[in-house]
Symmetry: C2
Subunit: 191 residues, 2 copies
DNA sequence: ACAATACGAGACGTTGCGTCTCGTCAAGGT
DNA sequence: ACCTTGACGAGACGCAACGTCTCGTATTGT
């Protein structure tokens, strides 16, 4: 139906920007497609043409907002995880990513796109950022060969989601506690 | 306005039962107040008189559904936590509590009653079930005196919420992993 | 018996949904 | 240069559920 090559990049950017603005102003739940369209100076159909739902649109907003650009060196798993988490939390603090993430987790109970993003995509899986580097560390002997990477990633994601959902602090201290909990003992003093 | 002493217990029970039925049949998100009223043979106003919102009603449904009746003995913190978690997960498996919990966590981003239940009430705090017994174990020397009970409870709750939200398994194996992660080392072989 | 009020039923206005139908416009093909 | 195609802005449209309200009836305590 819709031909991606004919899509207007300017409109897309205006819509994403309007969505980001509105969430900062009135909160995720209060944002409507109609308000985004009005703010962006765009017809409703132009939004519905390219995104299935409000949640689908915000998956894109969130992805653009939380871009992990520079990966720290994997010298030590503990240092790596701490650095990556602090980087993400700094991005959270500088943007409206947290309310968007909370809204997306919430919408995932109703919306297929949000659910998929939550379980497999950027938001939930975090494969390239968390699981993959840790798996590499296992192969390199920086972590025990039988270290359960998937479980570690699940714990980290769970703790983050919980604070996002209940409004807890997402600061560097929290990042350090996650690292300590997820890599408890491994490569540390207990071993 | 509304006088609790004149409230009809039969109507209340019918409403709660209808709400529980409907969530099992069509899922939390699809349930409407109007459908609950129709199913319970009740006027809409009778629901709105006693509950602020759908979420507020389901907080009560969930509370009735997940009643931890018998507390296991606190001989060993690991055994205690394992027993209590298995008991809760068995209740989850026997009822529609999981979709309700997922719906409530979702609604907590929009609804004040759900948010309060999530942060302070039965759902999020879990004080009497988790934190309090662990705190007692600390005083009794069954856990290190500097053991961080709040952090342990937060981890357990976070892991449960994450699986509830993303549709993961809530079985005895998961219960054991939570215990191992939350009480890692404490009272175990590493210490 | 009487006052107070919970209750069933359903009308009511409101909001946002997602679809649709216009007329306009820009781009690519012939 | 013309013509087709499809994106676009604007907004009308029907729909569903919200939360409030107003009836008339039933129940309860004094």
């Amino acid at each position: 139906m819709a031909d991606p090559s004919r899509r207007s990049p300017a409109k897309q950017a205006a819509i994403v920007a309007a969505a980001a603005q509105l969430v900062a102003e009135i909160g995720y739940a209060a944002v409507t497609i109609e308000a985004i369209a009005a703010r962006a100076g765009v017809g409703k159909q132009t939004i519905y043409r390219w995104w299935d739902s409000k949640a689908a649109l915000y998956v894109e907003v969130y992805s653009q907002m939380v871009q992990v650009d520079e990966f720290p060196d994997m010298v030590d798993p503990r240092r790596y995880m701490g650095a990556i988490l602090r980087q993400v939390f700094d991005l959270y603090a500088a943007t409206s990513a947290v309310p968007i993430l909370a809204g997306l987790i919430s919408d995932a109970q109703r919306d297929d796109v949000a659910r998929h993003a939550l379980v497999h995509g950027l938001i939930g899986g975090r494969g390239p950022v968390l699981a993959q580097p840790l798996r590499q560390a296992c192969r390199d002997g920086r972590l025990p060969a039988d270290f359960d990477v998937d479980w570690a990633a699940e714990m980290a994601v769970a703790l983050i989601w919980k604070r996002v959902l209940s409004g807890g602090a997402l600061d560097h201290a929290f990042a350090d506690r996650i690292v300590a909990a997820v890599l408890s003992g491994e490569g540390g003093p207990c071993r």
